[in-house]
């Protein structure tokens, strides 16, 4: 008893709420979804377990296009978010001075508005006769029939925009945590600006980049609102399909199977990504 017992029980007690949370709201629903995906039936007559594993190859082949598109759009928007936000985070971390908090606040300010409202505003701005396109059309820069909405460009732009803070914040935290001494040391050792960035700052900010890519990548691959509001007839993402199958068609087995396939695919991505770039990043970057 005494200390040993405490040592064993304390962590259990401390993690109990999280454990409960994960079991009640993640593990059990996940098992339910797996089970549901193997049933057949409809809501009126009920669903019975028929071990219908055939639904998985069917779901994948039927919607392979949308799966591929989701990963493509998600990948592009993640890369864009990184390209856009790294310099911003860098600037705030190293040049923000005493106004850092204000700059960060300004960066996040638009995101205090509901996503739906922001994306609807995009829809308004990018409309065929909206403020951007009508001006470009008037001066003859784009053809009269040009449109941005309903194109993959609009969907990817929407995805990227929505995820900017999730890239900016972890990268900023990583950059801000770099000790200035280390950069000074690099300078003292006659590192050029590029070398300093390449061998010191970039490797030290890698954990932030890693986290940012995970956060942005996962949420944009599964997104459906951007495609629904800014997309066109050929930009449907897998999230849209799952939503339709669940809510409108009540095809629970198919929707469950699609959700699980998406989850497994994302999981595979995370595992591979972690293996190649995760914990090793620091060392590899440093060469």
């Amino acid at each position: 008893m005494g200390r040993n017992f405490k040592k064993k029980v304390t962590p259990l007690l401390l993690t109990a709420p999280a454990n409960f949370w994960l079991w009640a709201f993640f593990t059990i629903p996940l098992i339910s979804i797996l089970w549901l995906s193997l049933t057949t039936g409809n809501t009126l007559d009920g669903f019975t377990l028929t071990w219908n594993f055939g639904i998985y190859p069917d779901a994948v082949s039927q919607y392979s296009e949308q799966f591929g598109r989701s990963f493509l759009y998600g990948g592009i928007s993640t890369a864009l978010a990184l390209i856009f936000m790294y310099p911003v985070a860098y600037w705030i971390a190293f040049r923000g001075g005493k106004y850092k908090a204000i700059f960060l606040f300004l960066l996040l300010l638009p995101f205090l508005v509901s996503f739906i409202i922001r994306i609807l505003t995009w829809q308004f701005i990018l409309a065929d006769n909206g403020i951007v396109l009508s001006a470009l059309k008037d001066i003859g820069l784009v053809s009269q029939n040009a449109h941005v909405l309903s194109t993959p460009f609009a969907v990817i732009a929407g995805l990227t925009y929505d995820n900017l803070p999730w890239m900016a914040l972890p990268v900023y935290v990583a950059l801000d945590g770099i000790k200035r001494d280390q950069i000074e040391a690099a300078s003292d050792l006659y590192a050029s600006g590029y070398q300093r960035f390449r061998t010191v700052i970039l490797p030290l900010s890698a954990p932030g980049i890693y986290a940012g890519i995970l956060l942005v990548g996962i949420s944009s691959v599964g997104d459906f609102l951007s495609a629904q509001i800014l997309g066109g007839p050929s930009t449907t993402m897998i999230g849209n399909i799952i939503q339709t199958q669940y809510v409108q068609n009540q095809n629970y087995p198919l929707a469950s199977a699609l959700s699980l396939v998406l989850m497994v695919a994302l999981l595979a991505f995370v595992v591979l990504y972690g293996r190649f770039f995760g914990s090793k990043t620091l060392k590899e970057f440093a060469g």
Binding site: G46, F47, Y246, Y252
Partner: protein
Amino acid sequence: MDPKRPENETAWMRGLTQPRLSRRQLVHGAAGFAVLTALGPALAACGVGGTKGTGSAEDVDWTAWWQEQNATKNLSFANWPLYIDTGGGGKHPSLEKFTKESGINVSYKPVIRDNAEVLLQDQPGPPAGDPIGYDIIVMSNGWELGQLIANRWLTPLDHSQLPNFKKYAGEVATRLAYDEDLEYSAVWQAGVTGIAYDPKLTGGEIDSVEALFDPKFKGKVGMLSDNDEVGSLGLLALGIDPATSTYDDWKKSAAKMKEQRDKGIVRQYYDNSYVKALQNGDVALTQAYSGDIFQSNNSGYPDLKFVVPKEGAMLWRDNSVIPLHAKNPVSALKWIDFYYKPENQAMIEDWINYISPVPDAQAIIRDELDDPTVADSPLVFPPQSMMDQLREYPLNYTPETQKQWAGLFDPIIQS
């Protein structure tokens, strides 16, 4: 339009405040969510039971049941927002008049927009069942209503207590393909899915569904993302009556709609955001719900036009239904009968402006309420010539037919 007219203000207000989601789609979402949520407990019991026939027993003698019901002094009424006459201070003159005449207090809840639990709660637990808490809810025609009926989750109407309905209900309310014997549904309002267009962009009048397939408008045609609407349009274009169409017809329709999409004619499959797309000029012409365009005309877009094409247009309806185990069923019947009386209907209709189920309200709105704009609108009181052009939706309400239908048209809408 006289800007001093209060109707314009209310219409304008509604134009600003109405959700950008279609009524029909909202019901889809809500019912889906309801069943989805109901899945939880079912799963816990290690099996998802069907809901069919889980309501009242099959052999209830409803005539006898109605005779046992006593009049009460309360009525709880759940409706869509902004879907009843509303005066100053948010009061509803028709409801006040009803209370004055009948002594029944109405608890009016315009909750059906964002409170999916309303439909979720409409799952009576056997055997006695819990009342949903509402005596009347307003549901669109569609497979959701079909499912409520198949589940026997509704109370059949007692038409012997609805003399005004019998006397005044127009064709809109009496010819229901989804409830032929009017067993459950008393139409609250109806509407038309036709074509809306901007004459400046189309360069002329539109009078045929063929315009939606015209390569001239490539990339400028809007379609609704509701598979019922897309599939029915294909049937209309092929000259097939949707109400009596078969699976083979549906396949032909799907082929036609797929071709329209693959040729790049369709700009997008829209939810109610088609209104904005039309206003912004993203589309030149689009499938559209009649009421939305009427409101757009009154809120800064007077040039937009709505047409019932010569091949026909779809007629949808929102129905008052009485949930099973409602606490005040007699009050519910009294209210239904009240709003079918032309003078009462006129009060409500002059504000809502969708299609009225009571044709006799027209003269009252024109002469007594002095509002010829509404009274003479063919989209509020359709003349017989227009009624003849309005079509009923295909009977795709059973799980099998619904699966067939969705299997054909979803891949077109979402590809």
